[in-house]
């Protein structure tokens, strides 16, 4: 067993400790000790360890997700404020996912959920079917493309 079984987790914990306290040597040491013990505790649980293959694509993913969140916020606000004329357009959408990595699926769930207008309902891991609910389902293909081409392909490049 290595000293730091989860380097990324330890690094995030140290950074979090220092943002909550202050950026001083003392807090770096204290946070470092806490992060080391925390990562040993995490190792005892033996969680699935994500393997990030292409780091440079992460900022790009964060960028397009933030942009999409802004865009879909505007879309949902206009639907809510437009009122009753916009009814009967929401619906369910089943998408077949080729993504298998657990961490990547978790990130996809966060993306789908945090963009207003799409809600992750159910994922079937045996055949890879994802059921989402879309508030403004005018063009089914458009939403399938959004999840498949915009997010899934990028996540697969990063994690698989």
């Amino acid at each position: 067993m290595s000293v730091l079984p989860y380097p990324l987790l330890s690094l995030s914990l140290v950074l979090m400790w220092m943002t909550l306290n202050s950026f001083t040597i003392g807090h770096l040491l204290l946070g470092g000790i806490i992060a080391t013990f925390a990562s040993w505790g995490m190792a005892a649980l033996r969680p699935h360890k994500p393997r990030i293959r292409r780091w440079h694509l992460l900022p790009y993913l964060i960028g397009i997700v933030l942009y999409d969140i802004v865009r879909s916020n505007i879309a949902v606000v206009s639907i809510i404020l437009a009122g009753r004329s916009h009814r009967q357009r929401s619906g369910f959408l089943a998408i077949h996912l080729d993504l298998k990595d657990q961490t990547a699926l978790a990130i996809l769930a966060v993306i789908v959920t945090s963009t207003p207008g799409t809600a992750w309902l159910e994922y079937n891991s045996s055949d890879g079917t994802l059921l989402i609910h879309v508030l403004d389902l005018v063009e089914e293909q458009e939403w399938t493309d959004l999840v498949k081409n915009r997010y899934e392909r990028l996540l697969m490049e990063i994690f698989e």
Partner: protein, 131 residues
Amino acid sequence: MSQAADLPLWAAIAVSAFLLLGSALALIGTIGLTRLPTFYERLHAPTLGTSWGTGGVVMASMIFFTVTGSRPVFHEILIGIFVTVTTPVTLMLLAQAALHRDRAEGDANVPPSATAGTGAGKEAPAAGTAD
């Protein structure tokens, strides 16, 4: 709030703009929660508050305390991260409960469970939560 008087004009404008944006989005989200007709549509409305609703208020807070406190303050960003990362958990729980109820009642508008092939409204446990 004696600090607020020391705030330069540009920061005051930025803080109020972000604060108004964030709270307006949260308000519109709650209006949507009361106005949208079905459960699944109502799921979407509060995500306005958890995405840019939180984001706007957090940005305003960061700008205000960074400008008045003379050192960078960005631990608020942790609030944004944790709200974003934990929202899917509650949302999926609610969605799974609703799907289970509607399938058990044989609601035709809800797609059948993908797990059992033909198993609409079975007692099968809600398989296929994320991870």
